[in-house]
């Protein structure tokens, strides 16, 4: 019995808990992608780098707060600096929309031109982030590191394996749930939210009904920038901040958005968790878990790892391809552009 429990705890500790927090981060990212896709109708290649930008602002704010001795107790200081990051990112997104995307909207350019423009924005952010904070890894998590540490868990339960829940992981889930609830309430209950949904469903009809495109687009950027910053900061707290990983996370985020169906908020959340769970469950080495469940089984030297960790991106890609082959519009039907 203890063996089974130990195996279960091991599995929870290395697969379920990290995949849940990672899934929440991806879901927040994919929500932003979906929102921009739904309203502005293009895939935003600058998404990852905008996340890095918002995170960078938050890190700078965190450092400033830390240098004056400010602290949130067991919570990371970054939480107090988050509003700064959000405001900065919103300002950046609004400026980018004004200077870059608005022009192509007036021209009614093809989505692929918007994509190209977003690549230019990505380039600029890429440079800006590296100039300001450098290309290296930055760790900015502080406060209490663990909500439950492995030792505490072992002492409390008497099991061999410990279950660790990091503060950043619990925080990720809490913040993600709050953000998603707020977003849904906003979309369902407010006039602007209804206008956004109308605009996303049928632009011409919405415009005829007197929906102001300016308000809708501005609100979309504000919400998307908020989601991007929150997702970026949570990801950075959970892992660590390195500009390049924020470019790479673009692929899982897109995969999550496509799995759920492009332009569908609920789909983004489902997609985020599907991608995260597959990625972590497939790259985990099951050797110890199997030994707990089937003691005495002969596994040789094998780690019982299905996919080497170096190929975690290929999992997002395979999910993407499978979805494209069997259900090109995503699990929930996507909007066509």
């Amino acid at each position: 019995m203890d063996n089974l429990l130990n195996g279960l705890v091991l599995f929870l500790n290395f697969v379920v808990v990290p995949a849940t927090s990672y899934g929440a981060q991806l879901a927040l990212g994919a929500l932003g992608v979906n929102l921009i896709f739904g309203v502005l109708r293009f895939s935003n290649f600058a998404h990852g780098d905008t996340m890095a930008f918002g995170t960078m602002l938050t890190i700078l704010g965190t450092w400033a707060l830390q240098s004056v001795g400010f602290s949130l107790g067991f919570l990371p200081t970054a939480l107090a600096a988050l509003p700064l990051g959000i405001v900065g990112t919103i300002l950046f997104c609004l400026a980018a929309d004004r200077l870059v995307y608005a022009h192509y909207r007036r021209q009614k350019a093809a989505p692929v031109v918007f994509m190209m423009a977003s690549m230019g924005v990505m380039f600029i952010l890429n440079g800006v982030v590296r100039i300001i904070i450098g290309p290296d890894e930055r760790n900015f998590a502080d406060g209490e590191r663990f909500l439950i540490s492995a030792q505490q868990f072992k002492d409390a339960t008497g099991l061999l394996e410990g279950l660790t829940i990091r503060t950043s992981q619990a925080l990720t889930l809490a913040v993600a749930v709050a953000a998603v609830l707020a977003l849904f309430l906003f979309l369902q209950r407010t006039r602007t939210g209804a206008a956004m949904r109308a605009f996303s469903d049928n632009e011409t009809l919405a415009l005829l009904c007197g929906v102001s495109p300016k308000v809708v687009i501005r609100t979309t950027w504000i919400i998307a920038a908020t989601l991007m910053t929150v997702a970026g900061v949570l990801y950075g707290l959970d892992k660590s901040f390195r500009p390049f990983t924020y470019f790479q996370i673009l692929l899982p985020i897109f995969a999550a958005a496509i799995v759920g169906g492009f332009g569908r908020p609920v789909g983004a959340i489902i997609g985020g968790f599907i991608v995260a769970f597959s990625e972590i469950a497939l790259t985990y080495a099951y050797r110890k878990v199997v030994l707990y469940f089937l003691p005495g089984s002969d596994v040789g030297d094998s780690l019982l790892q299905l996919v080497p960790t170096d190929y975690k991106f290929s999992i997002s890609f395979v999910i993407l391809v499978v979805i494209l082959i069997i259900a090109p519009t995503g699990i929930l039907k996507a909007k066509s552009s």
């Binding site: 423009a117 890429n126 100039i131 993407l320 552009s337």
Partner: protein
């Protein structure tokens, strides 16, 4: 139009001559070689984007495939490693192939739930069996003399053979990607190619048995004379002595030999670079001629008609999906050739050097700045942008120095900015891309109006 092209290329020539006289001829030629390779890549991207409007966000991956092919063709075989694991490796791939073929056959002929379930099971079982055979073989290969090799090497053929083969391999990869992602919305192709390129580069970095991974496979043969052998040739020494006779005569007799040796070394490196430049220029000229010819042929008109109005072209009986696939393969093949050329120039495969910014997005900037749809323009864009990319690092450094002159030398902000000055060029490239896209979307040398414009009446 013609006049403008001559002018712009004239400006480029002057820029190169300036670098030659002011910096050094070695730097000018090194820049020129990379310009030529970039131009080949830009031609490939231009076929996809300019001719057909396909957004390939994974150029890096196709270039990496080309690089790997260059390694596999050119590198000498490591017989010990092949003896250690070659058979196992071959077996494991046979197992994998059987699994995939079986899954595909089942997927074709089954119906209902089984259509997806059974192939999935077959694939998983096949993969597990594959790993059982593959992992020991791989370990045996990587354990063979890991300090010097630890991989299988290549075929040991002349490396020039790898260039066309690289094109074929990249086209094959493009076929697979295109089969899945083409015909869906345009974004899916961009995202799928972005994904495949990340995976290819991850493989190049991690499959040590094949590419030696981040340990870099060095010692690829050169298709041009060896610089070190060249230095010992008497005719070269005589030539250099004759060319620099006044400079050498002015030196004291004791320093003459040392000075001569330096000059000979420089001369030999210039000769090697010139030889490379000749090869690359020949490839570029050949491909450029083919592209120009293709674009003005009936085939080119059809492709542009599809780009400008897919529905109308489809209604005229053109097979849009197949043409897109063809374009994707052609463009990727050219990028693959360029990737092989790059590895040939370096003489080694450096997997860690494959970063998307440099190999995917920079090429995009070249095509857009030069003029999407215009072959001559894309080549010009490649030359210009690579030149700016190389020269912008000192420019960025200089800019930072100038704008922060009022800060003290020990100022933290100033030292930090000077350290990160290299990233100003990324910022600059983004700005150039956005400015050109906005104010001059047709680029410096736009697609030629005239006959092609008339034939585009289909869409307009």
């Amino acid at each position: 139009m013609m006049k403008r092209a001559v002018q712009l290329y004239g400006v480029l020539t002057i820029l190169f001559l300036l670098v030659g006289f002011l910096q050094s001829w070695s730097v000018a030629l090194a820049t020129l070689n990379l310009c030529l390779i970039s131009a080949v890549m830009a031609l490939g991207v231009n076929i996809q984007w300019g001719y057909a409007g396909l957004f390939n966000a994974g150029i890096m991956g196709f270039a990496a495939i080309g690089g790997v092919v260059a390694l596999l063709v050119g590198h000498a075989p490591v017989s010990g490693a092949i003896e250690a694991g070659g058979v196992g490796l071959a077996l494991s791939f046979i197992v994998l192939a059987i699994g995939i073929v079986a899954a595909v056959i089942l997927f074709r002929y089954l119906k209902g739930v089984l259509k997806y379930a059974l192939p999935a099971v077959v694939l998983i079982v096949g993969f597990v069996l594959f790993r059982q055979v593959f992992v020991p073989a791989r370990q045996a290969i990587e354990a063979y003399d890991p300090a010097a090799s630890g991989f299988m090497g290549g075929l040991g053929l002349p490396i020039l053979f790898s260039w066309p083969l690289a094109g074929l391999a990249a086209a094959g990869a493009a076929f697979l990607v295109g089969k899945v992602a083409l015909g869906l919305r345009s974004d899916y192709l961009a995202i799928a190619t972005l994904g495949i390129s990340e995976i290819i580069v991850a493989m190049v970095k991690n499959e040590n048995w094949l590419t030696r991974g981040v340990k870099n496979a060095t010692g690829l043969p050169q298709p041009v004379p060896d610089g070190r052998l060249l230095q010992q040739q008497t005719w070269l020494v005589d030539l250099v002595t004759w060319m620099n006779r006044s400079y050498l005569d002015a030196l004291p007799a004791t320093e003459q030999t040392a000075a001569l040796r330096l000059l000979v070394a420089e001369a030999s490196s210039i000769i090697v670079k010139l030889a490379f430049a000749g090869l690359f220029a020949a490839v570029l000229a050949g491909l450029l001629a083919l592209c120009v010819f293709a674009l003005s042929s009936p085939w080119g008109r059809m492709i542009r008609a599809i780009r400008d109005n897919e529905t109308a072209a489809g209604a005229m009986g053109k097979n849009v999906a197949w043409r897109h696939l063809q374009i994707l393969m052609l463009g990727s093949a050219i990028v693959g050739i360029a990737g092989a050329m790059l590895v040939t120039l370096d003489g080694q495969l450096t997997p860690a050097a494959y970063i998307p910014l440099r190999y995917t997005f920079l090429i995009w900037v070249m095509v857009i700045v030069g003029g999407s749809g215009s072959n001559v323009g894309s080549v010009f864009g490649a030359f210009l942008i690579w030149f700016v990319w190389v020269q912008s690092e000192p420019i960025g450094y200089w800019l930072v120095k100038m704008t922060t002159f009022w800060m003290s030398d020990t100022s933290l902000i100033r030292t930090h900015l000077l350290q990160q000055a290299q990233y100003f060029r990324v910022l600059m490239m983004g700005t150039i891309l956005l400015l050109v896209l906005r104010f001059h979307p047709q680029g410096f040398l736009p697609e030629r109006p005239g006959r092609s414009r008339q034939s585009r009446g289909v869409g307009e």
